[in-house]
């Protein structure tokens, strides 16, 4: 395996190993996502029926909020014993560290969505699985876009002050296109007359976003992280 891929693999494996042991981030993020769905539900369910399009919106808001939480916690771990510095000290290509951490975060968020997506489908009578491939595509591309920007920002903020509040402050404006695309794409799949071309269009925008921003993150990781 070439050194770059090896580094990505080892970093990701180390993160997943730690998470599997304690499952702390997994359980807390999951719980938070479920609470999020509930809280928003109380705002948008009237007389036992959800307001139109509420399911799509609530799903993606829950993903965004719980994603921010997970990112914060994941990097708090690296801050604790300054292990992120140890990674920067290692003779590895720095962008590989970013990619390894991104894949770890994605695995985590994927696990959370395994529970949250069916939950939303059940609670709002939303036929989220009528078009499973497109739905999965939207979830994957959207979560990747959100996490790609989030991983870079969370890594950047590890040594900054006020990092807890600055992560959402920085992350939410930049990921607005992801949220719009995710919500509208999902809503297109939930409409009475399902609009497949629309969902596909939003999916392609998400994929484009992912490509551009992962590339940008790989490119800027080293200069932004050197002190």
């Amino acid at each position: 395996m070439n050194p770059f891929a090896a580094t990505v693999w080892h970093v990701m494996r180390k993160d997943l190993l730690i998470e599997v042991r304690s499952r702390e981030i997994l359980y807390t993020t999951l719980f938070f996502a479920v609470s999020c769905v509930l809280v928003f539900a109380f705002g948008f369910v009237r007389e036992g029926r959800a307001v139109e399009d509420a399911a799509a919106g609530i799903l993606w808001i829950a993903i965004a909020f719980s994603g921010t939480l997970a990112l914060g916690r994941a990097f708090e771990r690296e801050r604790h014993n300054e292990t992120l510095r140890a990674l920067m000290l290692a003779p590895v290509e720095r962008p590989a560290i970013y990619l390894g951490k991104l894949l770890g975060v994605l695995a985590l968020l994927g696990a959370v969505q395994l529970v949250v997506v069916p939950l939303v489908a059940v609670m709002f009578q939303a036929r989220l699985f009528a078009h499973p491939l497109l739905m999965l595509g939207l979830l994957a591309a959207g979560t990747t876009g959100f996490a790609a920007v989030g991983t870079l920002f969370a890594a950047m903020l590890v040594r900054a002050r006020s990092r807890d509040v600055l992560l959402p402050v920085l992350l939410y404006p930049i990921t607005i296109p992801v949220i719009i695309a995710g919500v509208r794409g999902t809503a297109a799949l939930l409409q009475a007359e399902v609009d497949l071309p629309m969902a596909r269009a939003w999916l392609s925008m998400l994929v484009f976003f992912d490509v551009v921003f992962i590339t940008l993150a790989l490119w800027t990781f080293e200069p932004v992280m050197t002190e």
């Binding site: 771990r77 292990t83 000290l89």
Partner: protein, 243 residues
């Protein structure tokens, strides 16, 4: 790539308005143990961080042989080992998992054997599969030291390595440092524990308020020479107020 000397030329580093290092110049050669002394907050940790390439100097140059951090990058980092204040180990993982992870990152040869030997040297064989979070400070310190030395670096930077070690541990560490010197490594030890480090130190440098001074070699104990090196600055600090 390899190198046999580290040279700081007029290195300064500041954080906003706080000057951590000011015009620091010195040179270390292979096969010597250099003590970096000074009061707390003098900039010792900053100097080690700059030497390890974690921090870039705001001015001045650091050279490793003919290479610089910018020219050699990852290849240079493979030859540097840092034991920081913060230990750099994952508390959720066991010693063997921690060391294996770093062994893989540093692409160490024969990782299993090396990791096993390192754990034995740290005296942690009995607890090799327990998570580090349950360890005492001394045990973590020993593990962190092994982590820093796992890849057999040319430049060894140690920040307060004797903290939390008992007598046996201290003797063992001194022997380890002597062995590193014999293996022609460049060892820089930052500490304010002069008595402990005195027996194995070849040269001593003092950092005060970001400025570096050399401590002249001599027959007197290190502490006396250290005090003498600090005095001129203490006097100079007083003079402007008198006039």
């Amino acid at each position: 790539m390899d190198f046999t000397s580290v040279t700081f030329t007029d290195v300064s580093r500041h954080f906003g308005r706080r000057r951590a290092l000011s015009g620091v110049s010195f040179r270390c050669e292979a096969g010597e143990v250099v003590a970096l002394l000074g009061p707390n907050g003098a900039g010792k940790s900053t100097l080690l961080a700059v030497a390890s390439t974690l921090l870039e100097p705001t001015s001045g140059r650091v050279q490793y042989g003919e290479h610089t951090a910018r020219s050699a990058r990852a290849r240079l980092r493979a030859r540097i080992g840092l034991l920081g204040h913060e230990l750099f180990v994952y508390p959720e993982l066991s010693p063997s998992e921690n060391l294996m992870f770093f062994a893989r990152l540093y692409r160490v040869e024969d990782p299993d054997a090396r990791v096993g030997a390192a754990i034995d040297r740290a005296g942690l064989t009995a607890r090799r599969d327990d998570p580090v979070s349950g360890f005492s400070r001394g045990m973590r310190q020993r593990l962190a030291l092994e982590r820093a030395l796992l890849h057999d670096p040319r430049l060894v930077l140690l920040d307060e390595p004797f903290t939390g070690l008992d007598d046996a541990g201290t003797v063992a560490l001194r022997a380890r440092l002597a062995a590193l010197r014999d293996a022609r490594r460049i060892v820089v030890v930052a500490t304010h524990d002069l008595e402990t480090v005195e027996p194995i130190v070849d040269r001593a440098l003092v950092l005060q308020g970001g400025k570096l001074a050399l401590i002249a070699p001599g027959p007197d104990p290190l502490r006396d020479r250290y005090r003498r090196a600090c005095e001129p600055r203490a006097q100079a600090a007083q003079a402007p107020r008198e006039s």
